[in-house]
């Protein structure tokens, strides 16, 4: 009787494969395309109205500068530096966040010891903390990883804690009745059950990682997209380049977010 559920109402072609997949992805993408077109249009109109009295280069100029900067090698070394910071900072912050979140969820003592500092550390703006961290950890990569990791850590910790705490107690009791070891409980129940919540935290963390990297670069660096923004504005007076860099930063954030979303879809599947 329940097999009917799976067999019934199957669309003529499998949505994942076949000739219709291109059509389907266009269908799914068109709102994004329309929204982007509207955004560019509004930008263009604003640039026309603002004219020379306001620093807003029109979209075609920024677009040309964006492509040009990537083509002539202006963007690439900075983008690469930021990319490395984002990846390493996210990895560090997320892994510590996962561990801390689990510990806080499962140990009252850990919660009482750690959570006040956790919240306090989060209440102090990372912008205020960055110069100090740059002093401590030097002008190199390490300071950026620390700053980036610090900003990623919090949402991942909270999401993990919430996810682990929300694990169905009935399932834990079931595992206990089947003599599951601590490790088996973790891998077969806690991790899969907490996964949706953890992935939510990782999504927020991924976008914040880009913010962390830029903030870290502003606190002292010679390379990176944050540096390029300052260079374009302060020394080169190249406003189209500045905007092109901002576009690159935004694309980084979108890419980081999408990576987590897609990874999450693979991990979770249907429930």
């Amino acid at each position: 009787m329940s097999t009917d559920l799976a067999a019934g109402r199957r669309p003529p072609a499998d949505p994942a494969v076949g000739p219709s997949s291109v059509g389907r992805s266009i269908e799914a993408l068109w709102p994004a395309i329309v929204a982007f077109a509207v955004f560019v249009l509004v930008w263009k109109v604003a640039a026309l109205i603002a004219g020379l009295g306001f620093i807003l280069p029109p979209p075609e100029l920024v677009g040309a500068r964006f492509l040009g900067a990537w083509a002539d090698g202006t963007m690439e070394p900075h983008a690469w530096a930021t990319f490395v910071e984002v990846v390493l900072g996210f990895a560090a912050g997320a892994s510590i966040g996962l561990g801390a979140g689990y510990l806080i969820a499962r140990s009252r003592l850990a919660e009482r010891l750690v959570s006040p500092y956790l919240v306090a550390a989060q209440a102090v703006p990372i912008l205020a903390l960055a110069p100090l961290l740059a002093l401590w950890f030097g002008p190199g990569l390490l300071a950026k990883i620390v700053i980036c990791g610090l900003i990623v850590f919090f949402p991942v910790t909270i999401a993990t804690m919430v996810g682990i705490r929300s694990v169905d107690r009935g399932l834990l009791e079931l595992a206990a009745s089947l003599r599951a070891t601590r490790r088996q409980v973790l891998t077969t129940i806690e991790i899969p059950a907490a996964m949706p919540s953890v992935l939510g935290g990782l999504r927020v963390g991924a976008t914040l990682a880009v913010v962390g990297a830029i903030v870290g670069e502003w606190a002292g660096a010679d390379k990176g997209l944050g540096v390029l923004v300052n260079l374009a504005r302060g020394s080169l007076f190249d406003y189209p380049l500045m905007f092109a860099t901002l576009v690159t930063i935004a694309l980084f954030g979108i890419a980081a977010y999408l990576v987590i979303v897609l990874a999450g879809r693979r991990l979770i599947g249907i429930r």
Binding site: S2, A6, D168, E173, S177, A180, I189, P192, R271
Partner: protein, 266 residues
């Protein structure tokens, strides 16, 4: 019942079980869930525990499954004390408690996986269990795709996976409609004939208790004690028609009479 037969394992004995839960408020007395409960279930016997809400039926099953340590008394399985969950005791909860991210097959294989069985043996065992509870067609589905009855069948198959000598069921069919429930009761009897396991079933339903059990134990509420024991001397195999017979009305009347008593005391 007192003469032990070595040939068949699965005699479950509870001696003077006492369980009290700490008070929720400071200064309040602790809640006594079970107060000196004793019972002796012969190997292969089916015993139903019936009683009002809060009489400690579920608590007793947790003690018998080794999930909860009593303050006093002990449970033994064929003479060996039960102090921790054992593969010889299968537990079916009131809710199916299936892992939502696993298919029916993988849910049934879960105890085998935890016990470290290799893949091949797991698959073989699951292939035996699927037809036993009649869910072959749903094997690849996830719990969300199943009806309530199918979920509970999966849970029963999971509890049977390690071929336990004792099966403990905590109101397993309470979420099912009356018709499906009768059908499941007969299914349980069929499973019992196939596996020969000792069965202790906790229930709210007098017809259910009479239909499946050799003996019905009536529990009083807070503190939980056994108020009466009612034998159901019906021939095997039993059928739904049994519920219309005089024997059953007599047993039901006796159970009801005993269920009524604690209300007057409390």
């Amino acid at each position: 019942m007192t003469t032990e037969r070595v040939t068949r394992p699965g005699r479950l004995v509870a001696e003077d079980i006492e369980v009290a839960f700490p008070a929720s408020r400071r200064g309040a007395p602790p809640t006594v869930a079970l107060d000196g409960l004793s019972l002796d279930v012969a190997a292969g016997e089916i015993v139903a525990l019936i009683g009002p809400n809060g009489c400690g039926k579920s608590t007793f099953l947790r003690v018998a499954a080794g999930l909860l340590a009593p303050q006093h008394g002990r449970v033994t399985l064929d003479g060996a004390p039960v102090v921790a969950p054992s593969p010889r005791i299968g537990l079916v909860f009131q809710e199916p408690r299936l892992l939502p991210w696993r298919s029916v097959v993988d849910n049934i294989a879960y105890p085998l996986e935890l016990a470290g069985w290799p893949h091949r043996r797991r698959d073989e065992r699951v292939a035996e269990l699927l037809p036993l509870v009649g869910i072959e067609r749903a094997a690849a589905l996830r719990p969300v795709q199943l009806s309530g009855g199918m979920r509970q069948r999966t849970a029963i198959a999971r509890a049977l996976a390690l071929a336990p000598d004792v099966l403990l069921l905590d109101e397993p069919f309470s979420a099912l409609d009356a018709l499906t429930r009768e059908w499941f009761n007969l299914e349980l009897l069929r499973l019992h004939r196939r596996t020969g396991a000792t069965i202790v079933i906790v229930t709210h339903s007098i017809p259910e208790a009479i239909l499946v059990a050799d003996r019905v134990l009536v529990l009083t509420a807070q503190p939980g004690r056994i108020a009466a024991e009612v034998r159901v001397d019906a021939p095997s195999p039993r059928s739904i028609e049994l519920l219309d017979g005089a024997l059953v009305s007599r047993a039901a009347a006796e159970i009801r009479a005993n269920l009524a008593q604690p209300g007057e005391v409390a």
